[in-house]
Each structure stands twice: as C-alpha cells, then as structure tokens.
Symmetry: C2
Subunit: 322 residues, 2 copies
C-alpha cells in the first residue's frame, strides 16, 4: 500500500491527513492557523501536523510518497511559491521550500495548489467526479469556489489564478460582490448571498415566517428560507425560487463553456438536497445550449465534504506527473 | 515546404485554402454552400474545392499532408462526424468519411472541428494568440463565438459542444438571445446586440444624430452608434458606453475563469479600433480578479480575419497529434 500526505491550509485550521492509495484518510492531525503570524511559523506548524498525522497512522516519513498542500490564494504549482493569499497575508511565500526544510527530507516531494482546485481534484480522483475526463466543481459556501479539471489535470490558468467561476457577473450592475464587481455569481449563489436575499425579504415582509424564525433563533442563516418554505411560507418560497434561478443561471453558464462530463456542486447549501437540486437540474435542462442533445453534462453533488481538500492535496503528485 | 488544406464550411460559402508550413494561404477556391441540400452534395463540393485549391497552388494531392475542416455546429473530432448543425441542417453527418471517399485517397488524413474552435486555433498557430500556452478567442459577429485553447490544444468539451462563451448569461432576465435564454453575452456584445441597442436608442430619441443617419443610409448598422458618437451625438455615446460596459463584463468573466495568456477578440466590431478597445481594456483592468497582480492576461485583436478559419482548419492535424 502506498501513502500520501495532504495538508489543507485554511484561514482557521491547518489539517494534515495521511491518505492511502485507495483514497481513505487513515489518520489526521490539526492545529489552529492563528492568522496573522509570520509565514515561516505557519509552515513549521504545517510540517509538524504532517509528521504527527504520519505518526498517528503508525507510519514513518519513509512510507510517504509525497506531501501535497491546498492553500487559499494564488499557488504557483511550478515554482512552489504561494504568490498571494489575502486570507493568510502571504505574498511570494516559498511554501514548498519551507516545508521541505522543516521536514528535513529532500527526497520527499512537496506540491502546492490552490485549495479550491485541490478540492476539485479530490472529487475527481475519489469523489463525485471520479472517472470523468473533464469536470468542473462549484462550491457554495461563504463564497462560490471553482475548480476545473481538464483531461484529468487541474486547470489553474496561465498565472495560477483562474477558475474563479464565482467571480463572473451574471447580473450587470447587480448585488455588490466581495471582489469589487457587482452582480457576481458568488453574490447570489453563495450561502452569504442566500442570507442577504433572506434578510431583504424579511425587511419587506416583517410578518413572514422567516421573520419569526429569525427572531426565535436570533439570526438569519442559509437554512432560514428553506426551513420556512417547508413550513408553508410563500415569501420564503420566493427567496428559494430566486436563489435557485440564479444558481441555475451560473451552472448553465459553466456547462455552456466547459461541457464537462460532470459538474459537481458542493458546500453546505447542498445539504438541502432535492428541494434545491431537482428544480436547479430542471432549469439547467431547459436552458443549456445542448438541451436537444442526448449527451449532456451530469450534475452531481460533491461526496467528500471537507475531506475533498485533503484527498485532493494528497494526490497532487499524480496531478503533476500527468 | 509542407502543405495543408483547410476548408471553411459556412452557411453561405465553402472556401478551401492551401496553406504552407509558414501559415501563408497560397491558393484558394470557393463555391456557394447552397443550403439546404443533401449533405453528400455539400461534401462533394467541399472535396472539389479542396482539389481545385490544390490545383490553383500548382500542387497535387501528393503534396498535401492532410485536410482539415471547420464547420458550424457540433463536430466530433474523434469520430469525424458532424453530430448536429442547425445552420446546415446536418444531423450525424459522417463528414470525414464523405470527404475521404470523394477525394479517393485513404492516405490523406481528414480532420473536422467546430468553426469557431478552428478559427481560434488559427489565431493560436499563426495570429494574435501565437506563442500562448492558454488562449481564449471571442468573435463579435452576428453572434458571439468562442474558442478555447488549453496547453496548445483545442478544448471543445466532453461532447464537442463547449466554448459557447456567447451563451453565458450576464444579465438574468435580460435581452432575449437567439439560443432561448435571456441576457446572454451574445445578446449584448454581438453586432446584432449593438444594432438592437442602437435601434432602442433611436426609438427613444428620434431627433438624435443616429436617427438621422439611419434614415439617410436606409438602415441601422453596427457602425451607426460609433459614427454618430464621433459626430458628437451624446445619445450615440451612451449606446457605445453601454455596449462597452457589457463587452467588458463578458471579457472579465472569461479572464476570471481562464486566466489565459492571451484573450483575443475578433469580428467586424473590432474594426472600430481604439475607441472600442481602450475603454474595454480600462474597464477589464478595474474589474478583473487579478487587478492587483502583475501577471495579467493580454487582450489583443485577432489578426487573421476570415482567414483564421482556413488556417486553423489547415493545422488541425497538428492539434490532433499533440
């Protein structure tokens, strides 16, 4: 059996996992990222977590084929440098060099990749996009993340900053996006976008079920509109319908461009299941450019959850060998 | 010197060209497509034009490495079948087989590709995107066509129907598009979209310079608004500004997804030159996700015009060998 280490570097946590060749995470180790602090300290903690995860798996570094890292921001997979990460405060951070030094082993290759790309690669090697030739993954979380797999390889763009599908405008002059543009896919289809639309509806309809639930629970969440829709609130259904309409528009756009075998959607909002998915699929089917063709992209739900990033990172050596 | 034949199959004309290894078209032959008529007749005429172009170049078929074809619709480059073409009325047309039979030579390979993809490949091998690793070409014509080159290869999607960048919604519930959706990039940024916006402005402002020019010339064209803007018409400038705003939105979307080395725009509207390009570039620079990075995609104007399709088709054998 071969073993690989995947490290998911996040703004909040550093998680390292040992993954076997059958894509099982057999051990993990994690610590807080504690941002902001010097990049070298963060790298040292990442290396420690890698070593500890290997120990937790009752293995030694000799058993590890390589180490892969998924990081927020622009990760230059050729040079091993994190060129920029807003979340981590990194600028031209030589992460591969740091990890290699901290591990103290020149013979263990280290790879880096953007975290959304690594997660998409995880779904491609072991999850919902397994067996696809071309796949696009869209994650509906705080933002809308994108990861593109073309011909079995991660496509990150010439400057390693691509796949920002969340930052494509689907409504010119629309809702303000965190990226500075107005009307981005992310501004509508992220959990944050759904919460914004729910809040707007509550303001318009203070007597609605959504308004009551928000008061009872003390907050508006991405679940408020779906829960209230199920309780029969018409205004909540309008919010959900609007959310679904914009999500379907962004997904259809993505399929019209890539026509991948599989379009994989993940993130917390997907836990809503069929009440979200069935109408999205129906709208996409009506709108997609190839609606009259038999060969259409399959829309699937991500399988690996938060493990996608670790598994994808763990197999980055394969992504780079292709 | 090596020679290749490229055939540009259009709804109106069939044009065959002999292209040398330095990307020069050294001879052409053309005839009307005369749609609709039986697909076999069209294929026979395509073969005839290929042979005639070779004769016009003072060569024989022995001198030709291969024949490439750019066609509207869904061209399966693996099977050689045009699976569907609305313009030509084709459905599962075995074009490579037809051409091979009509030429009567088993030893001359024949390749097919979607016409927009072939034109993008032409710009990639010999035009404005030459030397790029990743490039996206957008053509602003009757519609908005897209062609994607990734790592030197044409990306057509798993079902050969991808790269429909023109059919991505940039304004949910916006202007009606020919594809059935509302608010597509094409509905705003094609010449047709510009004409629509010009007409709408003329209706609102019947005393405008645009209105007078349309009456004098007997029609509204994609040039009307630009010409009247130069003549000082404020309303015409508003139309041009709106056109530029939507075009920049679609281009920025495309860069945020692909982050290619080069984004190449072509088509008649590009003849407007700097009054179009400079403000588009400025808006993209303000909005693109990597606006703070030094490594940004270059926006260039297509160089090859209508020859891009012929040259790209002529080098399809190289696209398929990679």
């Amino acid at each position: 059996m071969k073993y690989y280490v995947g490290i998911d570097l996040g703004g909040t946590n550093i998680v390292a996992g040992v993954v076997d060749e059958e894509y099982n995470i057999i051990a993990k180790a994690s610590t807080k990222t504690n941002c902001p602090r010097p990049e070298k300290e963060i790298a040292d903690d990442m290396a420690k977590m890698a070593v500890q995860a290997v120990e937790n798996a009752n293995l030694t570094l000799d058993d590890i084929e390589w180490i892969g890292i998924g990081t927020p921001g622009i990760a230059n997979s050729s040079t091993g440098i994190i060129e920029y990460s807003n979340n981590l405060g990194f600028k031209d951070t030589p992460m591969v060099k740091y990890i290699t030094e901290a591990i103290g082993r020149d013979d263990t290759p280290v790879f880096i990749e953007n975290d959304a790309n690594a997660a998409a690669y995880g779904e491609y090697v072991a999850g919902a996009a397994k067996g696809a030739k071309n796949a696009v993954c869209i994650t509906l979380g705080t933002g809308v993340g994108g990861g593109i797999i073309i011909d079995g390889k991660i496509y990150a763009g010439s400057n390693f900053a691509g796949a920002e599908i969340g930052h494509t405008v689907i409504e010119v002059d629309g809702a303000q996006c965190s990226c500075g543009r107005k009307g981005c896919f992310e501004a509508y289809s992220s959990a944050t976008g759904l919460i914004r639309m729910t809040r707007e509806a509550i303001e318009l309809f203070p007597d609605s079920e959504m308004s009551k639930m928000a008061q009872e629970r003390g907050k508006v969440t991405a679940r408020t509109s779906f829960d209230c829709m199920r309780a029969g609130d018409k205004h909540a259904k309008d919010v959900v319908d609007k959310y679904i309409k914009y999500l379907a528009a962004g997904i259809t756009n993505t399929i019209n461009i890539f026509q991948p075998d599989v379009l994989c959607i993940g993130g917390g909002v997907c836990n809503e299941g069929d009440p979200l998915l069935l109408p999205v699929k129906a709208l996409v089917k009506e709108e997609v450019y190839t609606r009259n063709s038999e060969k259409n992209c399959e829309i699937v739900i991500a399988k690996l959850g938060n493990d996608a990033g670790i598994i994808g990172a763990a197999f980055l050596g394969r992504a780079n060998q292709k």
